[in-house]
């Protein structure tokens, strides 16, 4: 773990009776790209605004770079924010916006102007300095907001759903640019988002939040492969659930009976969550493969019938009803050349591997 830059210890926030943050304890490292992911109302924006200094925690400790932030106002914290609305000053030019925070900078006016130009270039807005800020497109405003924050060399950059107002193409482009920018400047980025794909693409670590609490904090791959609860699994991508029964439990693993798939041996790692009593087995759509004529499963296979076909161009999603299970499971196949798309009603076999299953118990 790198040197901690942000330390949160049992941070609570009440708005009247409403309990917005229910004891957040975590540490965010220097130079980390950290995401707060969750549905609206889960407290992720409140947490970000608490770090920025726009909200005071009701209780708990927040430290930035080792210093307690209790009573430290937003304008002296070593953080800067990219607002969801971008908050570009409409009465100023692009240059004046980017240089807004440099008023008390001791450097000469010429040095400041040079810094403004460098940062405009860094975000790909070279030559836009003299434009009126209100005449910019959404993507350009976003870049101005980034330059305006980064020019102050914050220890932490806070991003409040910065891409939610952009169209899909632009969003994907900005995701890549944000990653590049973060590597270039090397400071901690904390991103708030409700878009799980965005969080997976960009983050070193993701904190999934529900109802004011962190439900799981992991790197994207662990989060995707080994969600700790059905709620997390549902929020990140698609996950199929099949009813199951634990036959035996040893320190090394479990023997389970899964509806439609049969018996399987799982390792202890495949049950990452705490027991809740609601037993099910989950797996991602891409871990199941349709077997065509003459193909053999590398590990296990189960019979079923194709109930629905959703064609996406590069992929096809199939809803397959496994024999002995009422609800269909969704699986995805890449449409490689020469592989036919199956029709509804086709009887088929699906290949699966016990190692790809996750046990919720």
């Amino acid at each position: 773990m790198k040197r901690p830059i942000i330390e949160l210890e049992n941070v609570q926030k009440y708005y009247g009776d409403y309990h917005a943050l229910r004891g957040i304890t975590t540490t965010i490292g220097e130079g980390e790209f950290f995401s707060l992911l969750g549905p609206s109302g889960c407290g992720k924006t409140t947490l970000l605004r608490t770090i920025a200094g726009f909200e005071d925690p009701s209780s708990g400790v927040l430290k930035i770079d080792g210093k307690d932030m209790d009573g430290v106002p937003a304008n002296v914290r070593p953080t800067n924010m990219v607002f969801q609305s971008y908050a570009i000053f409409p009465h100023l030019t692009v240059e004046e916006n980017v240089g807004f925070g440099l008023r008390r900078d001791p450097r000469s006016a010429a040095d400041k102007a040079r810094a403004v130009q460098e940062h405009l270039e860094m975000v790909g807005l070279k030559g836009y300095g003299k434009r009126a800020a209100h005449a910019l497109s959404g993507g350009q405003r976003q870049r101005v907001a980034l330059a305006r924050a980064l020019i102050l060399k914050p220890k932490v950059l806070l991003l409040d759903e910065p891409l939610s107002a952009l169209d899909k193409k632009m969003r994907e482009q900005m995701q890549v640019e944000l990653i590049r920018l973060q590597r270039q400047v090397g400071i901690t980025f904390i991103l708030v988002t409700h878009d799980q794909e965005e969080a997976l693409v960009m983050s070193d670590r993701i904190a999934v939040m529900f109802e004011g609490q962190i439900a799981q904090l992991d790197d994207p791959e662990t989060l995707y492969r080994l969600p700790k609860s059905r709620q997390v699994a549902d929020f990140i991508g698609t996950m199929n659930f099949l009813p199951a029964q634990v036959l035996s439990e040893t320190p090394d693993g479990f023997e389970v009976e899964v509806a439609g798939l049969g018996r399987a041996a799982l390792t202890a790692r495949q049950a990452p969550g705490r027991p809740t009593g609601d037993v099910a087995v989950g797996f991602r759509p891409e871990t199941l493969t349709i077997l065509y004529e003459g193909q053999q499963a590398a590990d296990r296979e189960s019979p079923g019938i194709v109930e629905e076909v959703v064609y996406y161009g590069d992929m096809t999603y199939y809803d397959v009803k496994l024999d002995g299970v009422a609800a269909p499971v969704r699986l995805s196949m890449r449409n490689v050349f020469g592989r036919p798309v199956l029709d509804r009603g086709t009887r088929t076999r699906v290949a699966w591997a016990p190692g790809a299953l996750v046990l919720f118990r």
């Binding site: 920025a52 200094g53 726009f54 106002p73 937003a74 304008n75 002296v76 953080t79 800067n80 924010m81 607002f83 969801q84 609305s85 908050a87 000053f89 409409p90 009465h91 807004f100 925070g101 008023r103 008390r104 009126a132 209100h134 305006r148 924050a149 102050l152």
Partner: protein, 293 residues
Amino acid sequence: MANRLHRLGRSEAANGLVLVSPPAIFAVLLLAAPLGLLFLYSFLTDGYLTILWEFTFQNYRDAWSDPLVRTVMLRSLGVSMMVTAITVLLAFPVAYFVSFHVRPDRKSLWLFLITIPFWTSYLIRVFLWKVILGYNGVLNSGLLGLGLIDEPLTFILYNVNAVVITLAHAYAPFAILPIFVALEKIDRSLLEAGRDLGESDLMTFWRVTLPLSMSGVVAAVLIVFIPTIGDYVTPQLVGGPEGRMVANIIHLQYLRLDNYPAGSAIAVSAMVMVTAISLLFLFLNRRFLRGRK
């Protein structure tokens, strides 16, 4: 042809014209026509109780060379500038308070309360100020009673001060409302951005809130300045001889001396002055009035 007329009759433009024509005719008859007549009079010759159709610039020459007219004109200008300054300076904090510190569901109640002065007639409000500011008025008897003064203050009624106080009170809502609207339009995240970028609340106000509310301040200035310079009732009732303003002189020329051309020339001169000052003011503030999304 008939077909084309028929189409025209059904077109959106025709519908629009039909819709605006009653107020347009109203405005032409009651605004443009009298103004044109006034303008025309100012170039005609006075023939004592009649008007002679002889074109002349003499009315303007007389108006601009008369020291009395010049003094009154400058006084009107000074009074309305002072009224404007006082009104807008006092209106801004009120508008700011309502916009930023009043709960959203209470804002309309506050605006409603601000308009209360309009519930009584303007004339009655002016007379109320006479009661307050008079020799035996509320203010003087109050101060005498408290022992703060030994004899009644006389500089507060029947002079320019009384005119300024009365007008500033009368126009306060007109100044508060446009400033309030401009403040309401400011995205609150801009203020957070100001603080986030290292500025204190005061500096954020100076660098963000104030420039963004200038469109409202400019509107308030014009709304107060333009009508007060030509105000007639207030100086007539509380101004006394030394508080007379340009409208009183015009009234004198028209109705007492029956000299329509001279009165018209003074009126047109005052209009030109107001227009010139307003345009200059708009020009000086043009950077705050740029269009924005």
